[in-house]
Amino acid sequence: MEKRVTFSRWSIGILFAVPQLILIFTFFYWPAGQAVYWSLTLQQPWGGGNIWVGLDNFRSILSNADYWNSITASLTFAGISTGLAMVIALVLATLTDRQLAGSRLYRVVLIWPYGIAAPALAMAFRFILAPEAGFMAVVNQVWPGFWDPGLDGTDAMASIIVAFSWKYVGYNFIFFLAALQAIPRSLIEAAAMDGSGVIRRFWDIQFPLITPTIFFLLVINITESFQDSFGIVDIMTSGGPANATNLMVYKIYSDGFRGLDYSGAAAQSIILMLLIIVLTIFQFRFIERRVHYR
């Protein structure tokens, strides 16, 4: 879509775009280029510039068991937390959309978690899931040693998944509810007239019509699970125990800033960048298709 009426002074038009262009050049494109450069070079330990090493950095991280462990952890985290957050949100949104008494209240309250900063909710869950105080301690009293995220990798992973899912249930809920409410009531009423029950109507009418939203949320949840998880991991587990929750972004951060291994961190950044590019392209291809729908 184009404007029919436009202004003719090009110079003014370009000036309007300049501030954003300067910002994205300085803080997006330059650092991204720098990351590519660092990933292909190695900083000399005694200074004196970088030497070209080609793909050596990539080879060394890809042959590193710690890195593969981090990828597995990230994928586990992304898969389970996305699944949980989306299924719970879809159930709640569908039921809220039935508009029984009290649904207004749910519409307001179920959104709250998304407003909370990841580190703050991580702190809350760190207490709630603490093995010695909090609420899991009750379980530990019955079965001693059942739950200890400080020692057991699976427990730690479960903790960060719960914290992340809690936040993203709110987010997914907003989108599912909006999508469900966009479905014309007449469709559902017609189906009801034909004798289909609530559950039948969900699977045959509502679910197919909101598949675009489902795909969209799937991509967003996975990308966010790479990005928004940093605060949760840093507060709840610091990547431990024994690297069980050392997700990709956390590893980039700790290798880059604690280990000062810029080249290794840069190579990991590039791999993560590729992953996010693939996901974004996937998302936009599919959004294009959704436009065709209408």
Binding site: A17, L23, F125, A133, F226
Partner: protein
């Protein structure tokens, strides 16, 4: 829907109520834990009746983590980022929609691609840039030989340097560029009728006047929605402030929370930790509750 489904209705209420509890319980537990004294908060199971130490804990958390100045920093940063994003994306969208200069689509795509370069994948180099924000330009001058030329002609050695670590500018500026905001405005500007532009031009208004007097007042709704979302987004930033505020004076409330985690083997002061958590989560929660309409609208509009 006019149909009788008593069992399903009952189940609906039960599940929704469970969902409600699932969403609200963490907030409630934080508030209750923040009101206990040290012994009660570590009781197993913790009593769900509020204790009496709420204000004492809030005060302790406030002073331990020095939350006053930190909340102020958070506020400056969030307001700055929100305002910056609202303004800069309006400018860019205006340029893309209302002019037809060559390279317009290139600018559109340059902005678009930033979506694929989230902060998390370029933390280390972005940090290096912010340590000296003019370093990209210095490098360009060096590589093109311009700095050599300038030195030859004027005798001045070019070394551009401007560090932004530990400053509000450093906290705010790198977060301002926004693709989603630009698209939101673009979508909106495309729906503004051409007749308005024609009328304005007939009355002798130029591009700048049209932008300020007509387009901006029309996009107030957009601004409110975008501003709300971006304020929350900025308030909840963690990684960026953590990196660039090596000095306490510019740390934000969210990064300071880490100070309150009880040490392993130390005194488990969970009551203080929860009081601090409550203070940090309250401002965004208030924004969500008060601005719910804009929040929901902004979320759905920016993501689509």
């Amino acid at each position: 829907m006019v149909e009788r489904t008593p069992i399903l209705n009952f189940l609906t209420h039960v599940i929704l109520f469970l969902g409600f509890v699932f969403c609200v319980a963490p907030f409630v537990i934080v508030v209750i834990a923040a009101s206990h004294n040290l012994k009660d908060v570590n009781d197993v199971p913790m009593s769900l009746l509020p204790g009496s130490d709420f204000w004492i804990n809030i005060k302790t958390a406030w002073t331990t983590a020095d939350l006053g100045p930190k909340l102020f920093n958070s506020f400056i940063m969030s307001a700055g980022v929100a305002a910056g994003k609202v303004i800069i994306s309006a400018l860019t969208a205006f340029s893309i929609v209302y002019f037809r200069y060559p390279g317009r689509m290139l600018i559109f795509w340059l902005v678009f691609i930033t979506l694929m370069l989230p902060l998390e994948v370029r933390i280390v180099p972005t940090y290096a840039v912010v340590a000296n924000v003019l370093s990209p330009y210095q490098t360009i001058l060096d590589l093109t030989g311009l700095s050599w030329l300038i030195e030859k002609i004027s005798g001045v050695q070019v070394s551009l340097s401007l560090g932004l670590l530990n400053s509000y500018t450093g906290l705010i500026l790198p977060l301002i560029a926004t693709a989603t905001g630009t698209f939101l405005y673009r979508q909106f500007f495309l729906t503004v009728p051409d007749e308005l532009t024609e009328a304005a031009r007939m009355d002798g208004a130029g591009a700048v006047r049209f932008f300020i007097d007509i387009l901006l007042p029309l996009s107030r709704n957009n601004m409110a929605a975008l501003g709300t979302i971006m304020f929350l987004w900025a308030w909840n930033q963690y990684l960026w402030p953590l990196l660039i505020t090596t000095d306490q004076s510019h740390a934000t409330a969210v990064t300071e929370l880490k100070q309150l985690i009880p040490n392993v083997g130390g005194i488990p002061e969970w009551n203080i930790a929860m009081a601090g958590t409550l203070i940090v989560m309250l401002p965004p929660l208030v924004v969500v509750v008060l601005m719910q309409r804009w929040f929901v609208r902004g979320l759905i509009a920016t993501e689509k």
